[in-house]
Amino acid sequence: IAGITQAPTSQILAAGRRMTLRCTQDMRHNAMYWYRQDLGLGLRLIHYSNTAGTTGKGEVPDGYSVSRANTDDFPLTLASAVPSQTSVYFCASSDSAKQGGGYTFGSGTRLTVV
């Protein structure tokens, strides 16, 4: 693994189903983030975690939950998917102790809810 790995790459999901998007990093970054990208809206923050064991809500958290049991993993769960959650999801990490450190992004998960 080099950087951030997201899985799956893409998924078609029936509405009402539960789904977990996986994100793993090997850089020992303390902070991790989930964004969704929709056409014309840029990237919007869903949830974030400044360190293992803590999480926080971003701009659009409804319908999503996260956990941060350890430094490397930051899964995003859709408890009951709805079509409006069709989007491309990006996981990112940063070393927030390094002032102004930029984000490293995963390659994204394209999710279609039908």
Partner: protein, 114 residues
């Protein structure tokens, strides 16, 4: 409120022309960071530059240059002698110390015609 505006939704120029992408941000933070990311058609997010709010010196990297004007809260990005490979969506993204996370603009889609 912390906000970023990329007023140009789409720009199309002919190859070899110079092009400037505008970015205006709002913040009450005295310390912050400014980023530009590139998203080519392949979809990944590529880090281009980070600028500290204390450093208003403009920066040049090859054909890319950035003009940071704190007085007008702008951080504009210029590509000189554009090439087809520059075609991408470009995101301006301020990082605020008070929020410890990066806020992305809605992006500017740049198309370079041969």
């Amino acid at each position: 409120a912390q906000k970023v505006t990329q007023a140009q939704t789409e720009i199309s120029v002919v190859e070899k022309e110079d092009v400037t992408l505008d970015c205006v941000y709002e913040t009450r933070d005295t310390t912050y960071y400014l980023f530009w990311y590139k998203q080519p058609p392949s979809g990944e997010l590529v880090f281009l530059i980070r600028r500290n709010s204390f450093d208003e010196q403009n920066e040049i990297s090859g054909r890319y240059s950035w003009n940071f004007q704190k007085s007008t809260s702008s951080f504009n990005f210029t590509i000189t002698a554009s090439q087809v490979v520059d075609s991408a969506v470009y995101f301006c993204a301020p990082g605020y110390s008070s929020a410890s996370k990066i806020i992305f603009g809605s992006g500017t889609r740049l198309s370079i015609r041969p």
